[in-house]
Amino acid sequence: MNTDISIGTGNPIDRVEGRLKVMGLAKYASEFNVKNLAYAQGINSTIAKGTITAIDTSEAEKQKGVIKVLTYKNADKLKQYDEELPAISTSSIQPVLQSADVHYYGEYVGLVIAETFEQAQYAASLVKYTYSEEKPDIDFDSSRAKAYRPTEKSDYSRGDISQGLAEADVTLEQIYNTPIEHHHPMELHAIIASWNNGNVEAYASQQIIDDATLTIADTFQIEKKNVRVIAPFVGGGFGSKLHAKQHVILGVMASKQLGRPVQMTVTRNQMFTNTNLRQRNEQKIQVGAKSDGSLTALSHDTLSHTSTYEEFQESCGTVTKMLYKTPNNKVRHRLMPMNLQTPFAMRAPGEATGSFALESAMDEMAWKLKMDPVDFRVKNDTQVDPSSDKPFSSRLLNECLKIGAKEFGWEDRPQKPGTKEEGNWLVGYGVSGASRRAPYQKTSAKVILELKDSEVFATIQMDATDIGTGSYTIIAQTASEYLNIPVAQVDVELGDSDFPKTLGSGGSWGAASFSNGARAACENAIASLEEKSGLKIADAGLAKLMRSGNLTSFEAEGTAEPDEEFKNHSVFSFGANFTEVWVDKDTGVFRIKRMLNVASCGKILNPKTAFGQIIGGCVMGAGMVIAEQTKVEPNYGNFITRSFADYHVPVNLDMANIDVIFLPEEDKIANKMGIKGVGELGITSVAASIANAIFNATGKRMRDLPITPEKLIVAEKEPGVA
């Protein structure tokens, strides 16, 4: 698959699967050539709350090519939730089409299966539904009375927050808002499902293969070993593909009913209503500090929404528990059940949104204290996680801030907001600190060694996924390092539930987990071969070890998992983001002129793919500020931004120059290879960095994302700004 002759990790090599991708040979879920395929098209509800009273499928069924119309009346009976409002995880069941009830606008209420995609899509528009409509809960403000505490863990406190605020010389209380956002990976969610005598085989675009098999098995009440899920390439996920959503179940159900394979693709429009979203969060932050800048209190209350049938909480307050030293801390999360779809994890859930609130508030405090925002953060550093009293495995936040400030030219920052001009533009600098938990998951892998003409070729197998992040490449580099053979002699096979088990891609644990899993398999192979041959690899090399045992092929498995050291520490990646913005004096438009992201995230396996992760995160973070928002129609509850023409993500012109600095680091407490996550660190706190730069440029404090021209043009300067 690749021709790279380098050995080991740390080199900025091209993606090993890059050639397949540009040649169109890297197949995504819906691209597999499965014979006798039928096509399914989901039908969406056109009310937000109520009951289906009648369904007329006659027109649809008459159409050429239509095989079947599925509704709640003829759907398979699936496992139901045991409780009301169950908290959902990445392996929860996904019952669908089980009743006449409608919970939100756009919910699946039916499925048309036809010989072609076009036939299915047209027929789907002909199925007529009659509803008994009820007034939906779609208004955030009027749902406040329904707010509840999801779990005991939704609340946290240490010290006494009131006392901390009372002791403070300077205090702040502000509310920060982030809107509903959508993931929108390039590859649409899709499945090709084949049901065969109780066995399921599915090509499905999922981030966690093992959990997808669990969701299918549990929902249909069949054994997990009878379910195989395959996803060798996943075209992005950002969290939306962590959990096998309803379309996966619908595809399998359709195949079961038809007795033939069925493809179901979620359309771009349906990606807004039928996959996942990041919920709207209203975050109240209270801060107290002594006049020397030492924090006395930090409080973070989050109000958000879930659906009326499933529960998901984005833990925005997580970051406030651990990022700064403060004796008094209070964190609360509340949810309101509303007639909107169930939210779920989106890139850096909690941190991306929570750090916007916290790091904006830190900037506001620094201004009140007349301190430099870099100095204010440095002053409140802690090497012990105050929320767990465990030492950080490594924490280079101060270094990120200081090195970043130097490289960025932070000393040129205007001291007073609104004082640096360039023609019609006001120039401002902003900074924010970033943190993201660096999890490490139990991971198994298999290595298959083959000796050909005195060269050893290796194949690594695991059910890990490459969601565009570079998993193939870093796993190949890792195996190359531990086997001491060129990357070109390593083949990597991923994304098949027949392979050894991993927790897939998510939560920034992929790189550390997959690499250590591959390492463990390689180490086991070498140990066995050394034992068999009595030779040492360091002296003899891998080929000689195999030859001396008369082996032309050899297999070994290995499992890596967190050790006691890991558990006794708090393991996070850290970073800092610096932004220069130019804000038009009159029109409400701003431009990001340049951005520097400094990241401390353990050993960098491949600087090229890691760089891609960070700048991708920065762009997504900038999207949060520039324009990304999913708007709920106030009377009917549908999303009025249901295409890329209306849901605005940044364009190239919005993102000028992004520089990334990785601090050299290997965190051997985190794991044996010293790796920490990169995937979500990049997005974390970018929004605050930009918003803080806008304040520095204009004196306007923008606390509601996104910061669109319509908001910026009418915003007033902060009291006290000249």
Partner: protein, 330 residues
């Protein structure tokens, strides 16, 4: 997508005849708007008549000393044409601020005039919309209307026209030539081409059934030195204007002798700022005068629940566009 027939007439007469045989027809230029709307089930023609390859794809001199733009010529070819860049840089600038290079390569000049509103209620067939389904009501009037009109709207429709090109054409005082079945053609002022919604918002313009736009005529070259198209939008490219202003100035002896000023994103049609134009004609091009003109221009604005910001933005945009036009002396 619904089934439809597809015809490719070789001449305009054939195209016009085809439209007479089926009143449910749509002419297809670049398809950048019509095809999208068909996918959304908003447009449901039973016959598509492709006109993109008909012989109206040149730019030629006309007898008023100006130029004639063929209706089937692409937006890219028009905006980048040497005669247009030289003689009507305001038009080039406006056209190049629209959409993306890929869309501009496909979109035709006639099609640009006929693009439909971006109102989300118009796009979502399960929502009420008088423009899409007369009599169903206007969802935006009491709904999500931050991007909607502040001028000329009615209780039945508050949508805006999305084009950038048309804002410049209004400022330049172009004319539009139409041909109808039977072969006769007529020419109308550009500002009479689009209409206000009144109680018939389903009609975007004053075209008669079956008519085809064949040409857009520009008067003798205008505003070659002092012009600006200002577009305020949510991202730097590939977004419709929240507010746009096309400004052209002719200055002689320190005074404004001719002016073209029009706004986009504020009404059901490109909004020519006639009062502001009249106020500034004969005056000195000063910021104070620009600000007074902007006040005058926005005086009649009538905002909806979510679009009050457009008044502030509109005033600032007019002043800025005029300042930029003034500063641009070539």
């Amino acid at each position: 997508m619904r089934p439809f027939t597809y015809t490719q007439p070789k001449t305009i007469e054939e195209a016009l005849t085809a439209s007479v045989t089926n009143s449910d027809s749509k002419y297809l230029g670049g398809g950048t708007n019509l095809v999208d709307l068909m996918k959304e089930d908003v447009e449901r023609p039973s016959q598509i008549i492709e006109v993109a390859d008909l012989d109206f794809n040149t730019i030629t001199s006309n007898d008023t000393g100006g130029f004639t733009l063929g209706a089937m010529l692409s937006n890219s070819e028009t905006a980048n044409h040497p005669d247009i860049r030289k003689n009507y840089p305001l038009l080039s600038m406006a056209m190049l601020s629209a959409a993306t290079a890929q869309i501009r390569n496909m979109a035709t000049n006639g099609g640009n005039l006929l693009q439909r509103t971006r109102c989300p209620y118009f796009f979502e067939v399960s929502m009420p919309c008088n423009k899409r389904e007369p009599g169903s009501g206007c969802g935006a009037l009491e709904g999500a209307n931050s991007k909607h009109a502040i001028f000329g709207w009615s209780e039945s429709c508050v949508a805006t026209h999305p084009s950038d090109m048309c804002v410049a054409l209004a400022a330049l005082e172009a004319t539009v030539t139409l041909q109808k079945p039977g072969g006769t053609s007529r020419t109308i002022e550009f500002t009479d081409f689009h209409r206000l919604p009144g109680d018939q918002p389903e009609k975007d313009n004053t075209m008669l059934p079956g008519e085809i736009i064949t040409a857009i005529d520009l008067p003798s070259p205008k505003f070659q030195s002092n012009y600006h198209y200002l577009k305020i939008r949510e991202r730097s490219s590939y977004a419709f204007a929240l507010i746009s202003v096309a400004a052209g100035l002719q200055i002689s002896g320190g005074k404004i002798t001719d002016i073209g000023l029009a706004m986009g994103g504020v009404a059901h049609k490109p909004w020519k700022l006639i009062k502001a134009e009249a106020f500034l004609t004969g005056k000195m091009p000063t910021k104070a005068n620009f600000e007074q003109a902007a006040e005058l221009a926005l005086r009649d604005a009538k905002t909806l629940s979510d679009n009050e910001y457009k008044v502030t933005m509109g005033k600032k945009a007019i002043v800025r566009a005029l300042e930029q036009a003034l500063a641009k002396t070539a």
